[in-house]
Protein backbone atom coordinates (compact mmCIF):
# COMPACT_ATOMS: atom_id res chain seq x y z
CA UNK A 1 0.00 0.00 0.00
CA UNK A 2 2.77 2.40 0.86
CA UNK A 3 6.51 2.06 0.86
CA UNK A 4 6.77 2.92 4.55
CA UNK A 5 8.50 0.22 6.53
CA UNK A 6 6.92 -1.45 9.50
CA UNK A 7 9.89 -0.55 11.61
CA UNK A 8 10.56 2.76 13.07
CA UNK A 9 13.82 4.12 11.74
CA UNK A 10 15.09 4.70 15.24
CA UNK A 11 13.70 1.52 16.77
CA UNK A 12 16.30 1.55 19.52
CA UNK A 13 15.13 4.97 20.61
CA UNK A 14 11.47 4.07 20.90
CA UNK A 15 12.16 0.68 22.43
CA UNK A 16 13.59 2.40 25.51
CA UNK A 17 10.40 4.38 26.07
CA UNK A 18 8.87 3.29 29.32
CA UNK A 19 5.65 4.44 30.88
CA UNK A 20 6.36 7.23 33.36
CA UNK A 21 3.90 9.42 35.25
CA UNK A 22 5.06 12.47 33.32
CA UNK A 23 4.28 10.71 30.04
CA UNK A 24 0.86 9.60 31.26
CA UNK A 25 0.19 13.19 32.27
CA UNK A 26 1.23 14.35 28.80
CA UNK A 27 -1.05 11.78 27.16
CA UNK A 28 -4.03 12.81 29.29
CA UNK A 29 -3.28 16.47 28.54
CA UNK A 30 -3.46 15.69 24.81
CA UNK A 31 -6.71 13.78 25.30
CA UNK A 32 -8.22 16.59 27.36
CA UNK A 33 -7.55 19.36 24.86
CA UNK A 34 -8.12 17.37 21.66
CA UNK A 35 -11.89 17.34 22.19
CA UNK A 36 -13.79 20.41 21.14
CA UNK A 37 -16.32 19.82 23.93
CA UNK A 38 -13.59 20.62 26.48
CA UNK A 39 -13.21 24.19 25.25
CA UNK A 40 -16.98 24.60 24.90
CA UNK A 41 -17.68 23.44 28.45
CA UNK A 42 -14.90 25.58 29.90
CA UNK A 43 -16.15 28.65 28.03
CA UNK A 44 -19.69 27.88 29.11
CA UNK A 45 -18.51 27.64 32.74
CA UNK A 46 -16.80 31.03 32.58
CA UNK A 47 -19.74 32.65 30.76
CA UNK A 48 -22.30 31.21 33.18
CA UNK A 49 -20.36 32.28 36.25
CA UNK A 50 -19.74 35.81 34.98
CA UNK A 51 -23.34 36.26 33.81
CA UNK A 52 -24.83 34.99 37.09
CA UNK A 53 -22.48 37.17 39.13
CA UNK A 54 -23.40 40.18 37.04
CA UNK A 55 -27.11 39.44 37.39
CA UNK A 56 -26.54 39.22 41.14
CA UNK A 57 -24.96 42.68 41.16
CA UNK A 58 -27.87 44.05 39.17
CA UNK A 59 -30.30 42.48 41.63
CA UNK A 60 -28.46 43.97 44.59
CA UNK A 61 -28.51 47.50 43.20
CA UNK A 62 -32.19 47.12 42.34
CA UNK A 63 -32.92 45.88 45.86
CA UNK A 64 -31.02 48.80 47.33
CA UNK A 65 -32.93 51.24 45.13
CA UNK A 66 -36.13 49.75 46.55
CA UNK A 67 -34.88 50.49 50.04
CA UNK A 68 -33.83 46.96 51.07
CA UNK A 69 -30.73 46.68 53.22
CA UNK A 70 -27.63 45.52 51.39
CA UNK A 71 -24.60 44.47 53.45
CA UNK A 72 -20.92 44.66 52.49
CA UNK A 73 -20.72 40.88 52.83
CA UNK A 74 -23.40 40.45 50.15
CA UNK A 75 -21.57 42.77 47.79
CA UNK A 76 -18.14 41.28 48.39
CA UNK A 77 -19.48 37.79 47.72
CA UNK A 78 -20.55 38.73 44.18
CA UNK A 79 -17.39 37.41 42.41
CA UNK A 80 -18.20 33.83 43.49
CA UNK A 81 -21.93 34.30 42.90
CA UNK A 82 -22.00 32.14 39.77
CA UNK A 83 -20.70 28.98 41.46
CA UNK A 84 -24.08 27.29 41.83
CA UNK A 85 -24.37 26.65 38.10
CA UNK A 86 -20.72 26.93 37.17
CA UNK A 87 -19.94 23.89 39.32
CA UNK A 88 -22.44 21.76 37.36
CA UNK A 89 -20.81 22.58 34.02
CA UNK A 90 -17.25 21.95 35.13
CA UNK A 91 -18.53 18.88 37.02
CA UNK A 92 -20.04 17.52 33.83
CA UNK A 93 -16.70 18.04 32.06
CA UNK A 94 -14.90 16.17 34.85
CA UNK A 95 -17.37 13.25 34.77
CA UNK A 96 -17.01 13.01 30.98
CA UNK A 97 -13.20 13.13 31.20
CA UNK A 98 -13.33 9.49 32.32
CA UNK A 99 -16.86 8.22 31.67
CA UNK A 100 -16.62 9.02 27.94
CA UNK A 101 -13.72 6.55 27.76
CA UNK A 102 -16.01 3.81 29.03
CA UNK A 103 -18.80 4.88 26.69
CA UNK A 104 -16.58 4.77 23.59
CA UNK A 105 -14.44 1.77 24.54
CA UNK A 106 -11.36 4.01 24.53
CA UNK A 107 -10.72 2.80 28.07
CA UNK A 108 -9.34 -0.46 26.62
CA UNK A 109 -6.64 1.41 24.72
CA UNK A 110 -5.96 3.62 27.74
CA UNK A 111 -5.57 0.74 30.18
CA UNK A 112 -3.52 -1.43 27.84
CA UNK A 113 -1.04 1.40 27.30
CA UNK A 114 -0.92 2.07 31.06
CA UNK A 115 -1.66 -1.29 32.71
CA UNK A 116 -0.94 0.08 36.20
CA UNK A 117 -4.23 2.02 35.71
CA UNK A 118 -4.02 4.32 38.77
CA UNK A 119 -1.52 6.72 37.09
CA UNK A 120 -4.26 7.42 34.53
CA UNK A 121 -6.73 8.44 37.25
CA UNK A 122 -4.05 10.49 39.03
CA UNK A 123 -3.12 12.29 35.80
CA UNK A 124 -6.77 13.03 35.03
CA UNK A 125 -7.27 14.29 38.60
CA UNK A 126 -4.26 16.58 38.40
CA UNK A 127 -5.33 18.04 35.05
CA UNK A 128 -9.00 18.55 35.89
CA UNK A 129 -8.13 20.07 39.31
CA UNK A 130 -5.58 22.47 37.81
CA UNK A 131 -7.84 23.56 34.96
CA UNK A 132 -10.88 23.93 37.23
CA UNK A 133 -9.03 26.03 39.78
CA UNK A 134 -7.78 28.36 37.04
CA UNK A 135 -11.26 28.56 35.50
CA UNK A 136 -12.90 29.10 38.92
CA UNK A 137 -10.52 31.82 40.09
CA UNK A 138 -10.42 33.37 36.61
CA UNK A 139 -14.22 33.49 36.39
CA UNK A 140 -14.45 35.07 39.84
CA UNK A 141 -11.88 37.66 38.84
CA UNK A 142 -13.74 38.43 35.60
CA UNK A 143 -16.98 38.66 37.55
CA UNK A 144 -15.31 41.08 39.96
CA UNK A 145 -14.30 43.28 37.04
CA UNK A 146 -17.71 42.99 35.36
CA UNK A 147 -19.75 44.03 38.41
CA UNK A 148 -17.77 47.17 39.31
CA UNK A 149 -19.36 49.40 36.60
CA UNK A 150 -22.83 48.25 37.78
CA UNK A 151 -22.08 49.00 41.41
CA UNK A 152 -20.31 52.32 40.84
CA UNK A 153 -23.44 54.54 40.33
CA UNK A 154 -24.59 53.55 43.82
CA UNK A 155 -21.12 53.95 45.26
CA UNK A 156 -20.97 50.23 46.07
CA UNK A 157 -17.89 49.41 44.01
CA UNK A 158 -14.99 47.90 45.93
CA UNK A 159 -11.27 47.39 45.46
CA UNK A 160 -9.69 43.99 44.89
CA UNK A 161 -7.60 44.75 47.98
CA UNK A 162 -10.73 44.93 50.15
CA UNK A 163 -10.32 42.57 53.07
CA UNK A 164 -11.25 38.97 52.20
CA UNK A 165 -12.05 39.57 48.52
CA UNK A 166 -8.86 38.26 46.92
CA UNK A 167 -8.88 35.22 49.22
CA UNK A 168 -12.48 34.44 48.35
CA UNK A 169 -11.70 34.66 44.63
CA UNK A 170 -8.79 32.24 45.06
CA UNK A 171 -10.93 29.86 47.13
CA UNK A 172 -13.58 29.91 44.40
CA UNK A 173 -10.91 28.25 42.24
CA UNK A 174 -10.13 25.76 45.00
CA UNK A 175 -13.81 24.88 45.40
CA UNK A 176 -14.28 24.23 41.68
CA UNK A 177 -11.15 22.05 41.70
CA UNK A 178 -12.59 19.96 44.55
CA UNK A 179 -16.01 19.68 42.85
CA UNK A 180 -14.22 18.56 39.68
CA UNK A 181 -12.34 15.85 41.62
CA UNK A 182 -15.59 14.63 43.17
CA UNK A 183 -17.15 14.57 39.69
CA UNK A 184 -14.18 12.71 38.19
CA UNK A 185 -14.42 10.13 40.98
CA UNK A 186 -18.16 9.67 40.31
CA UNK A 187 -17.43 9.17 36.61
CA UNK A 188 -14.78 6.56 37.43
CA UNK A 189 -16.94 4.76 40.00
CA UNK A 190 -20.13 4.67 37.92
CA UNK A 191 -18.43 4.40 34.48
CA UNK A 192 -21.43 6.15 32.99
CA UNK A 193 -21.76 9.71 31.73
CA UNK A 194 -25.46 10.01 32.53
CA UNK A 195 -25.12 8.26 35.88
CA UNK A 196 -22.19 10.44 36.91
CA UNK A 197 -23.78 13.73 35.92
CA UNK A 198 -27.15 12.86 37.50
CA UNK A 199 -25.49 11.76 40.75
CA UNK A 200 -23.39 14.91 40.85
CA UNK A 201 -26.42 17.13 40.25
CA UNK A 202 -28.35 15.29 42.93
CA UNK A 203 -25.54 15.80 45.39
CA UNK A 204 -24.95 19.46 44.55
CA UNK A 205 -28.49 20.72 43.92
CA UNK A 206 -31.31 18.29 44.62
CA UNK A 207 -30.22 16.97 48.02
CA UNK A 208 -29.68 20.40 49.65
CA UNK A 209 -33.05 21.58 48.32
CA UNK A 210 -34.80 18.43 49.50
CA UNK A 211 -33.23 18.67 52.96
CA UNK A 212 -34.22 22.32 53.28
CA UNK A 213 -37.91 21.45 53.02
CA UNK A 214 -37.59 18.74 55.66
CA UNK A 215 -37.85 20.22 59.12
CA UNK A 216 -35.78 18.92 62.00
CA UNK A 217 -32.29 19.21 63.36
CA UNK A 218 -30.96 16.11 61.64
CA UNK A 219 -31.83 17.39 58.16
CA UNK A 220 -30.20 20.73 58.95
CA UNK A 221 -27.16 18.96 60.37
CA UNK A 222 -26.75 16.83 57.24
CA UNK A 223 -27.30 19.80 54.95
CA UNK A 224 -24.43 21.60 56.62
CA UNK A 225 -21.99 18.93 55.51
CA UNK A 226 -23.15 18.62 51.92
CA UNK A 227 -20.72 19.85 49.25
CA UNK A 228 -22.85 22.87 48.38
CA UNK A 229 -22.90 24.26 51.91
CA UNK A 230 -19.31 23.30 52.65
CA UNK A 231 -18.36 25.08 49.42
CA UNK A 232 -20.37 28.18 50.36
CA UNK A 233 -18.52 28.31 53.64
CA UNK A 234 -15.18 27.77 51.91
CA UNK A 235 -15.62 30.80 49.66
CA UNK A 236 -17.44 32.93 52.25
CA UNK A 237 -15.89 36.16 53.47
CA UNK A 238 -17.95 36.52 56.67
CA UNK A 239 -18.88 33.49 58.76
CA UNK A 240 -22.05 33.28 60.88
CA UNK A 241 -21.57 32.25 64.53
CA UNK A 242 -22.62 28.61 64.37
CA UNK A 243 -21.55 27.87 60.77
CA UNK A 244 -18.49 26.05 59.44
CA UNK A 245 -15.42 28.25 59.07
CA UNK A 246 -13.62 28.59 55.74
CA UNK A 247 -11.08 26.00 56.88
CA UNK A 248 -13.76 23.59 58.10
CA UNK A 249 -15.72 24.04 54.89
CA UNK A 250 -12.56 23.35 52.93
CA UNK A 251 -11.83 20.20 54.91
CA UNK A 252 -15.38 18.88 54.46
CA UNK A 253 -15.19 19.62 50.74
CA UNK A 254 -11.74 18.02 50.59
CA UNK A 255 -13.18 14.85 52.09
CA UNK A 256 -15.99 14.92 49.50
CA UNK A 257 -13.33 14.97 46.80
CA UNK A 258 -10.69 12.62 48.18
CA UNK A 259 -12.75 9.79 49.66
CA UNK A 260 -14.59 8.99 46.39
CA UNK A 261 -11.34 9.46 44.47
CA UNK A 262 -9.52 6.92 46.64
CA UNK A 263 -12.46 4.53 46.33
CA UNK A 264 -12.32 4.98 42.56
CA UNK A 265 -8.56 4.26 42.53
CA UNK A 266 -9.01 1.06 44.55
CA UNK A 267 -11.88 -0.16 42.36
CA UNK A 268 -9.98 0.75 39.20
CA UNK A 269 -7.24 -1.72 40.06
CA UNK A 270 -9.63 -4.42 41.30
CA UNK A 271 -12.33 -4.41 38.63
CA UNK A 272 -12.05 -5.73 35.11
CA UNK A 273 -11.84 -2.91 32.60
Amino acid sequence: MTTTTLHHRGSAAIASGRVTFGRVLHAEWIKFWSLRSTAYLLLATVATMVCLGTLGAWGLTAAMDDGHPVTDAMIHALPSGGLTFGQLLIGALAVLFISAEYASGMIHATMTTVPARTPVLAAKALIIAAVSSVVGAGSALLTYAAVQPLLRPDGLDFALSTEGVAGSIARTGLYLALVALLALALGALLRSSAGGIVTLSALLLVLPTALSVISGDLAAEIAEYLPSNAGDQLVAIEIADDALTQLQGGLVMGAWALVPLLAAAVLLTRRDV
Partner: protein, 307 residues
Protein backbone atom coordinates in the same frame (compact mmCIF):
# COMPACT_ATOMS: atom_id res chain seq x y z
CA UNK B 1 5.21 -15.70 22.51
CA UNK B 2 1.93 -15.94 24.40
CA UNK B 3 1.52 -18.72 26.95
CA UNK B 4 -1.80 -19.46 28.62
CA UNK B 5 -1.98 -21.97 31.44
CA UNK B 6 -5.28 -23.30 32.70
CA UNK B 7 -6.88 -19.97 31.94
CA UNK B 8 -10.38 -19.73 33.36
CA UNK B 9 -12.80 -16.82 33.57
CA UNK B 10 -16.12 -17.05 35.37
CA UNK B 11 -18.77 -14.36 35.50
CA UNK B 12 -20.99 -15.44 38.35
CA UNK B 13 -22.36 -18.84 37.46
CA UNK B 14 -21.34 -18.57 33.81
CA UNK B 15 -17.94 -19.82 32.74
CA UNK B 16 -16.77 -17.80 29.74
CA UNK B 17 -13.35 -19.45 29.45
CA UNK B 18 -12.90 -22.90 30.87
CA UNK B 19 -9.40 -24.11 31.73
CA UNK B 20 -7.66 -23.49 28.43
CA UNK B 21 -3.92 -23.83 27.89
CA UNK B 22 -2.12 -22.92 24.69
CA UNK B 23 1.05 -21.37 23.36
CA UNK B 24 1.14 -18.87 20.51
CA UNK B 25 4.53 -19.22 18.84
CA UNK B 26 6.48 -16.42 17.17
CA UNK B 27 7.19 -16.46 13.46
CA UNK B 28 3.78 -17.58 12.31
CA UNK B 29 0.22 -16.37 12.15
CA UNK B 30 -1.95 -18.10 14.72
CA UNK B 31 -5.67 -17.91 14.13
CA UNK B 32 -8.08 -17.90 17.03
CA UNK B 33 -11.34 -19.34 15.85
CA UNK B 34 -14.63 -19.95 17.54
CA UNK B 35 -18.34 -19.24 17.32
CA UNK B 36 -19.81 -16.10 18.87
CA UNK B 37 -19.75 -16.27 22.64
CA UNK B 38 -17.01 -18.92 22.61
CA UNK B 39 -14.72 -16.79 24.80
CA UNK B 40 -12.32 -15.39 22.19
CA UNK B 41 -12.57 -11.77 23.28
CA UNK B 42 -12.50 -12.66 26.96
CA UNK B 43 -9.31 -14.63 26.38
CA UNK B 44 -7.74 -11.71 24.55
CA UNK B 45 -8.77 -9.32 27.31
CA UNK B 46 -7.09 -11.59 29.85
CA UNK B 47 -3.91 -11.69 27.76
CA UNK B 48 -3.89 -7.87 27.84
CA UNK B 49 -4.49 -7.62 31.56
CA UNK B 50 -7.89 -5.98 31.15
CA UNK B 51 -9.74 -8.90 32.74
CA UNK B 52 -8.31 -10.83 35.64
CA UNK B 53 -8.44 -14.62 35.19
CA UNK B 54 -10.55 -16.43 37.79
CA UNK B 55 -7.83 -19.07 37.86
CA UNK B 56 -4.80 -19.81 35.74
CA UNK B 57 -2.40 -17.38 34.18
CA UNK B 58 -1.25 -15.98 30.88
CA UNK B 59 2.07 -14.42 29.96
CA UNK B 60 3.39 -12.48 27.00
CA UNK B 61 7.14 -12.68 26.34
CA UNK B 62 7.55 -14.46 29.66
CA UNK B 63 5.66 -12.22 32.04
CA UNK B 64 2.10 -11.08 32.72
CA UNK B 65 1.18 -8.20 30.43
CA UNK B 66 0.73 -5.69 33.26
CA UNK B 67 4.27 -6.30 34.50
CA UNK B 68 5.87 -5.01 31.31
CA UNK B 69 7.28 -1.55 31.84
CA UNK B 70 6.85 -0.56 28.21
CA UNK B 71 3.84 -2.72 27.24
CA UNK B 72 3.20 -1.00 23.91
CA UNK B 73 6.64 -2.08 22.70
CA UNK B 74 5.90 -5.67 23.70
CA UNK B 75 2.34 -6.08 22.53
CA UNK B 76 0.24 -4.18 20.05
CA UNK B 77 -3.45 -4.88 20.25
CA UNK B 78 -6.63 -4.14 18.36
CA UNK B 79 -9.56 -5.09 20.55
CA UNK B 80 -12.39 -2.86 19.49
CA UNK B 81 -12.21 -0.86 16.29
CA UNK B 82 -14.79 1.60 17.55
CA UNK B 83 -12.94 2.07 20.82
CA UNK B 84 -11.94 5.65 20.12
CA UNK B 85 -13.64 8.81 21.29
CA UNK B 86 -15.79 9.77 18.26
CA UNK B 87 -14.96 13.48 18.54
CA UNK B 88 -11.19 13.02 18.56
CA UNK B 89 -9.12 12.90 15.38
CA UNK B 90 -7.18 9.77 14.46
CA UNK B 91 -3.95 11.74 14.74
CA UNK B 92 -4.72 13.00 18.25
CA UNK B 93 -5.81 9.53 19.35
CA UNK B 94 -2.52 8.02 18.22
CA UNK B 95 -0.52 10.97 19.55
CA UNK B 96 -2.04 10.51 23.02
CA UNK B 97 -1.31 6.76 22.99
CA UNK B 98 2.25 7.44 21.78
CA UNK B 99 2.80 10.02 24.52
CA UNK B 100 2.44 7.39 27.29
CA UNK B 101 5.65 5.74 26.06
CA UNK B 102 7.44 8.83 24.77
CA UNK B 103 7.07 7.60 21.18
CA UNK B 104 7.92 10.49 18.83
CA UNK B 105 5.42 12.07 16.44
CA UNK B 106 7.45 10.85 13.47
CA UNK B 107 6.38 7.30 14.39
CA UNK B 108 2.74 8.44 14.65
CA UNK B 109 3.05 9.78 11.11
CA UNK B 110 4.64 6.52 9.98
CA UNK B 111 1.81 4.30 11.21
CA UNK B 112 -0.73 6.71 9.71
CA UNK B 113 0.98 6.41 6.32
CA UNK B 114 1.41 2.67 6.72
CA UNK B 115 -2.30 2.12 7.31
CA UNK B 116 -3.38 4.54 4.59
CA UNK B 117 -5.08 6.91 7.03
CA UNK B 118 -3.23 10.00 5.78
CA UNK B 119 -6.18 11.76 4.12
CA UNK B 120 -8.47 11.36 7.15
CA UNK B 121 -5.92 11.61 9.96
CA UNK B 122 -7.21 14.98 11.13
CA UNK B 123 -10.90 14.15 10.78
CA UNK B 124 -13.12 13.14 13.67
CA UNK B 125 -13.11 9.38 14.18
CA UNK B 126 -16.89 9.41 14.66
CA UNK B 127 -17.28 9.87 10.91
CA UNK B 128 -15.09 6.89 10.03
CA UNK B 129 -16.40 3.79 8.32
CA UNK B 130 -15.88 0.50 10.14
CA UNK B 131 -13.00 -0.21 7.76
CA UNK B 132 -11.29 3.08 8.58
CA UNK B 133 -11.80 2.32 12.26
CA UNK B 134 -10.07 -1.03 11.75
CA UNK B 135 -7.14 0.67 10.06
CA UNK B 136 -6.86 3.11 12.96
CA UNK B 137 -6.92 0.19 15.41
CA UNK B 138 -4.16 -1.54 13.46
CA UNK B 139 -2.16 1.71 13.34
CA UNK B 140 -2.43 1.91 17.14
CA UNK B 141 -1.34 -1.73 17.47
CA UNK B 142 1.79 -1.07 15.38
CA UNK B 143 2.71 2.16 17.17
CA UNK B 144 5.31 0.65 19.49
CA UNK B 145 6.83 -1.67 16.85
CA UNK B 146 5.84 -4.60 19.09
CA UNK B 147 7.07 -8.20 19.11
CA UNK B 148 3.56 -9.53 19.62
CA UNK B 149 0.49 -8.41 17.72
CA UNK B 150 -3.01 -9.30 18.89
CA UNK B 151 -5.89 -8.45 16.59
CA UNK B 152 -9.53 -9.16 17.39
CA UNK B 153 -11.52 -9.55 14.16
CA UNK B 154 -9.15 -7.33 12.14
CA UNK B 155 -10.85 -7.74 8.76
CA UNK B 156 -14.32 -6.99 10.03
CA UNK B 157 -15.80 -4.28 7.82
CA UNK B 158 -12.84 -4.01 5.48
CA UNK B 159 -13.27 -3.88 1.72
CA UNK B 160 -11.56 -6.60 -0.37
CA UNK B 161 -8.47 -4.44 -0.80
CA UNK B 162 -8.33 -3.92 2.95
CA UNK B 163 -8.73 -7.64 3.61
CA UNK B 164 -5.82 -8.39 1.30
CA UNK B 165 -3.78 -5.67 2.96
CA UNK B 166 -4.38 -7.12 6.46
CA UNK B 167 -3.52 -10.59 5.16
CA UNK B 168 -0.22 -9.41 3.68
CA UNK B 169 0.58 -7.30 6.72
CA UNK B 170 0.02 -10.12 9.20
CA UNK B 171 2.02 -12.53 7.07
CA UNK B 172 4.85 -10.00 6.82
CA UNK B 173 4.83 -9.41 10.58
CA UNK B 174 5.02 -13.15 11.19
CA UNK B 175 7.79 -13.52 8.61
CA UNK B 176 9.78 -10.98 10.59
CA UNK B 177 9.66 -13.36 13.52
CA UNK B 178 6.85 -11.68 15.43
CA UNK B 179 4.06 -13.42 17.26
CA UNK B 180 0.80 -12.76 15.45
CA UNK B 181 -2.47 -13.81 17.09
CA UNK B 182 -5.71 -12.94 15.35
CA UNK B 183 -9.25 -13.93 16.03
CA UNK B 184 -11.93 -14.30 13.45
CA UNK B 185 -15.15 -16.06 12.78
CA UNK B 186 -14.40 -15.81 9.05
CA UNK B 187 -13.07 -19.27 8.35
CA UNK B 188 -12.23 -18.64 4.73
CA UNK B 189 -10.05 -15.71 5.77
CA UNK B 190 -8.28 -17.87 8.33
CA UNK B 191 -7.61 -20.54 5.74
CA UNK B 192 -5.67 -18.00 3.69
CA UNK B 193 -3.88 -16.19 6.49
CA UNK B 194 -3.18 -18.48 9.43
CA UNK B 195 -0.44 -21.10 9.73
CA UNK B 196 -1.77 -22.47 12.96
CA UNK B 197 -5.23 -22.60 14.47
CA UNK B 198 -6.52 -22.51 18.00
CA UNK B 199 -10.21 -23.34 18.04
CA UNK B 200 -12.44 -22.79 21.05
CA UNK B 201 -16.10 -23.38 21.65
CA UNK B 202 -18.11 -22.55 24.76
CA UNK B 203 -14.92 -21.52 26.54
CA UNK B 204 -13.14 -24.82 25.98
CA UNK B 205 -10.19 -25.60 23.76
CA UNK B 206 -11.31 -27.76 20.83
CA UNK B 207 -8.24 -27.82 18.63
CA UNK B 208 -4.69 -26.47 18.65
CA UNK B 209 -2.96 -27.62 15.50
CA UNK B 210 -1.34 -26.53 12.24
CA UNK B 211 -4.00 -25.46 9.77
CA UNK B 212 -2.91 -28.18 7.33
CA UNK B 213 -3.65 -30.84 9.91
CA UNK B 214 -7.11 -29.46 10.56
CA UNK B 215 -7.86 -29.27 6.82
CA UNK B 216 -6.64 -32.81 6.23
CA UNK B 217 -8.96 -33.88 8.97
CA UNK B 218 -6.60 -36.65 10.11
CA UNK B 219 -7.82 -40.19 9.33
CA UNK B 220 -11.22 -39.02 8.15
CA UNK B 221 -9.73 -37.64 4.89
CA UNK B 222 -11.91 -38.75 2.02
CA UNK B 223 -11.05 -39.74 -1.50
CA UNK B 224 -13.34 -39.72 -4.53
CA UNK B 225 -12.87 -42.50 -7.09
CA UNK B 226 -14.68 -42.93 -10.38
CA UNK B 227 -14.55 -46.33 -11.95
CA UNK B 228 -16.44 -48.55 -14.34
CA UNK B 229 -16.71 -51.24 -11.66
CA UNK B 230 -17.81 -49.37 -8.53
CA UNK B 231 -19.30 -52.36 -6.75
CA UNK B 232 -16.16 -54.49 -7.22
CA UNK B 233 -13.81 -51.66 -6.20
CA UNK B 234 -15.91 -50.87 -3.13
CA UNK B 235 -15.55 -54.48 -2.08
CA UNK B 236 -11.79 -54.43 -2.67
CA UNK B 237 -11.32 -51.16 -0.76
CA UNK B 238 -13.39 -52.37 2.15
CA UNK B 239 -11.35 -55.55 2.17
CA UNK B 240 -8.16 -53.48 2.36
CA UNK B 241 -9.37 -51.73 5.51
CA UNK B 242 -10.94 -48.74 3.85
CA UNK B 243 -14.36 -47.39 4.53
CA UNK B 244 -16.56 -46.61 1.58
CA UNK B 245 -18.93 -43.84 2.54
CA UNK B 246 -21.04 -43.14 -0.51
CA UNK B 247 -21.54 -44.77 -3.81
CA UNK B 248 -23.59 -43.03 -6.45
CA UNK B 249 -23.40 -44.00 -10.10
CA UNK B 250 -19.78 -44.70 -10.96
CA UNK B 251 -18.38 -42.66 -8.06
CA UNK B 252 -17.19 -43.87 -4.69
CA UNK B 253 -16.10 -41.95 -1.65
CA UNK B 254 -13.61 -43.75 0.50
CA UNK B 255 -11.80 -42.95 3.67
CA UNK B 256 -9.09 -44.64 5.71
CA UNK B 257 -6.85 -45.14 2.67
CA UNK B 258 -4.42 -42.88 0.83
CA UNK B 259 -4.85 -42.11 -2.88
CA UNK B 260 -1.70 -44.14 -3.49
CA UNK B 261 -3.17 -47.21 -1.75
CA UNK B 262 -6.40 -46.90 -3.73
CA UNK B 263 -4.47 -46.66 -7.02
CA UNK B 264 -2.35 -49.71 -6.09
CA UNK B 265 -5.42 -51.80 -5.23
CA UNK B 266 -7.09 -50.82 -8.50
CA UNK B 267 -3.97 -51.64 -10.51
CA UNK B 268 -3.42 -54.96 -8.77
CA UNK B 269 -6.98 -56.06 -9.55
CA UNK B 270 -7.05 -54.57 -13.01
CA UNK B 271 -9.90 -52.14 -12.28
CA UNK B 272 -10.02 -49.10 -14.51
CA UNK B 273 -10.09 -45.88 -12.53
CA UNK B 274 -10.75 -42.65 -14.41
CA UNK B 275 -10.78 -40.24 -11.50
CA UNK B 276 -8.95 -40.28 -8.19
CA UNK B 277 -9.21 -37.12 -6.08
CA UNK B 278 -8.29 -36.46 -2.45
CA UNK B 279 -11.24 -34.52 -1.06
CA UNK B 280 -9.87 -31.72 1.04
CA UNK B 281 -12.14 -30.72 3.84
CA UNK B 282 -12.84 -27.02 3.66
CA UNK B 283 -11.96 -25.14 6.79
CA UNK B 284 -15.64 -24.41 7.09
CA UNK B 285 -16.48 -28.11 7.22
CA UNK B 286 -13.63 -28.87 9.59
CA UNK B 287 -14.70 -26.04 11.83
CA UNK B 288 -18.36 -27.05 11.80
CA UNK B 289 -17.33 -30.58 12.59
CA UNK B 290 -15.14 -29.40 15.48
CA UNK B 291 -17.59 -26.98 16.99
CA UNK B 292 -20.93 -28.63 16.29
CA UNK B 293 -21.41 -29.52 19.95
CA UNK B 294 -20.06 -26.25 21.23
CA UNK B 295 -22.06 -23.60 19.47
CA UNK B 296 -23.82 -21.56 22.08
CA UNK B 297 -26.63 -20.31 19.91
CA UNK B 298 -28.00 -22.80 17.41
CA UNK B 299 -29.97 -21.26 14.63
CA UNK B 300 -33.20 -22.90 13.63
CA UNK B 301 -32.68 -24.89 10.48
CA UNK B 302 -35.40 -23.20 8.48
CA UNK B 303 -33.47 -23.30 5.23
CA UNK B 304 -33.20 -27.09 5.09
CA UNK B 305 -36.16 -27.65 2.81
CA UNK B 306 -35.07 -25.03 0.33
CA UNK B 307 -31.68 -26.58 -0.26
Amino acid sequence: MIQAQHLTKRYGAKTAVDDISFTVQPGRVTGFLGPNGAGKSTTMRMILGLDRPSTGSVTVSGRPYAQHRAPVHQVGALLDAKGVHPSRSAYDHLRAMAATHGIPRTRVREVIDLTGLGPVAHKRVGGFSLGMGQRLGIAAALLGDPQTIILDEPVNGLDPEGVLWVRNLTRQLAAEGRTVFLSSHLMSEMAQTADHLIVIGRGRLIADAPIREILDGGSSARIRVRTEEPARLAELLTGAGGHVTTAAGDALEASGLTTRQVARIALDHDVLVHELVPLQVSLEDAYMELTKDDVEYHSLELATEGR
